[in-house]
């Protein structure tokens, strides 16, 4: 009886409900786009403000943006390697910023105060569509990186160091996007659920440490996603000897 009570109320948290937008005969999750537009808009405004007046002696916002740029460059350079990291740095950086802004935006902004006809606003990365989209983009990019850098020799990677590896390497091409998307989706959704359940059960004090933990997880997930994407690209462009 208790358990069914819990689940009925849990359902009131509107897990897995979406705000459907109908465009022609395709339907999309409106709440994901709403939050992502707000967050990415804020990110773009922030970046435009910071890069509006670039000086040789960085001040304020420019300092922060340069630190961010340096951080992303280090990430891309260590994973992809000195030779081609420049081509992929914007992509890796965009992944990092998108995931980070989505995660933190979902955790920090009290979206629940805005009532929607169906579903609720939250981190765009807590929707499986977003994370699969990101993961598939990563897959496409590492294929593209490998093929454009090494041509058909890219497929040597599948039989390196021995042809026995072939089935495992092919399997990896499927597990890579799968693990990327489900890791991010699971972590962010779980964090949101834990916080909402705790807020629902104990509305005072107790959710706060969990919220901080959520912020930490969110940042870590952004770093993990960007690092793994860069690592996959680096693996594809690496020269075997």
């Amino acid at each position: 009886m208790n358990l069914s009570y819990f689940f009925t109320n849990f359902a009131e948290l509107e897990v897995g409900q979406h705000l459907y937008w109908q465009i022609g005969n395709i339907s999309i999750h409106g709440q994901v786009f709403l939050t992502s537009w707000i967050l990415l808009g804020a990110l773009l405004v922030f970046i435009s403000l910071g890069t509006k007046k670039m000086e040789n002696d960085p001040k304020g916002l420019q300092n922060l943006l340069e630190f961010l740029w340096d951080y992303i460059r280090d990430l891309a350079r260590t994973q992809i390697g000195e030779k081609v990291y420049r081509d992929w740095m914007p992509f890796i950086g965009t992944l990092f910023l998108f995931v980070f802004v989505s995660n933190w935006g979902g955790a920090l902004i009290p979206w629940r105060l805005i009532k929607l006809p169906s579903g609720e606003l939250g981190a765009p990365t807590a929707d499986i569509n977003t994370t699969i989209a990101l993961a598939l983009l990563v897959s496409l990019s590492y294929f593209y990186a490998g093929l454009s850098n090494k041509g058909w020799r890219y497929f040597e990677y599948y039989v390196h160091p021995t042809p026995i590896m072939l089935p495992f390497k092919i399997l990896e091409d499927f597990t890579k996007p799968l693990s990327l998307s489900f890791r991010l989706f699971g972590n962010i959704l779980a964090d949101e659920l834990v916080v909402s359940v705790l807020v629902f059960l104990v509305p005072l004090v107790l959710p706060i440490p969990v919220m901080f933990l959520g912020l930490f997880t969110s940042a870590i997930q952004a770093l993990i996603f960007a690092t793994l994407a860069a690592y996959y690209i680096g693996e594809a462009v690496e020269e075997h000897h």
């Binding site: 897990v15 897995g16 999309i28 040789n56 740095m89 569509n129």
Partner: protein, 152 residues
């Protein structure tokens, strides 16, 4: 009930639809936007500064090497000058010693000659005095003899 939400045909946690490709397009567009708004301009500024700093460091290193070379040169010059000075002092000391010795010798010899001269003079005068004396003694003795003869 919860499980039915997970896999509901309409809705559910794993409801994959057109959101996926649209989100992918949105991320690609975002990549281009961020590239032109963020990565390119910031990269340009940061790399320009890094170039500037690197140039400054190499220049400073070059200057430091030059300074060290000059310092070493100066050190050798200083050492040379010191040894030269020591040599000069040495020579001067020798010279002065020589001069001192010469002066003493000269003084000694002068003193000797004047001593000799004085001695000769004394001898001369003694002999002349003695001669005079003997002459006077002769004259006196003659006078005495004459007187004695005349008395008798």
């Amino acid at each position: 009930m919860f499980v039915s939400y997970l896999f509901a045909t309409e809705g559910g946690l794993f409801d994959i639809n057109a959101t996926l490709p649209l989100m992918a397009i949105q991320v690609v567009v975002l990549t281009y936007l961020l590239n032109s708004l963020f990565f390119k301009p910031v990269g340009k500024v940061v790399e320009k500064r890094e170039e500037f700093v690197r140039g400054n460091i190499t220049e400073a290193k070059k200057k430091l090497a030059e300074v060290e070379k000059l310092e070493a040169e100066l050190q050798t010059q200083l050492l040379e000058a010191r040894s030269e000075a020591a040599q000069i002092v040495n020579e001067a000391e020798k010279d002065s010693e020589k001069l001192y010795k010469e002066a003493i010798e000269l003084a000694n010899s002068e003193a000797n000659t004047s001593k000799e001269n004085a001695r000769l003079e004394i001898e001369n005068q003694t002999s002349s005095a003695r001669e005079q004396l003997s002459q006077q003694a002769d004259a006196l003795s003659e006078l005495i003899v004459n007187r004695l003869i005349h008395q008798t």
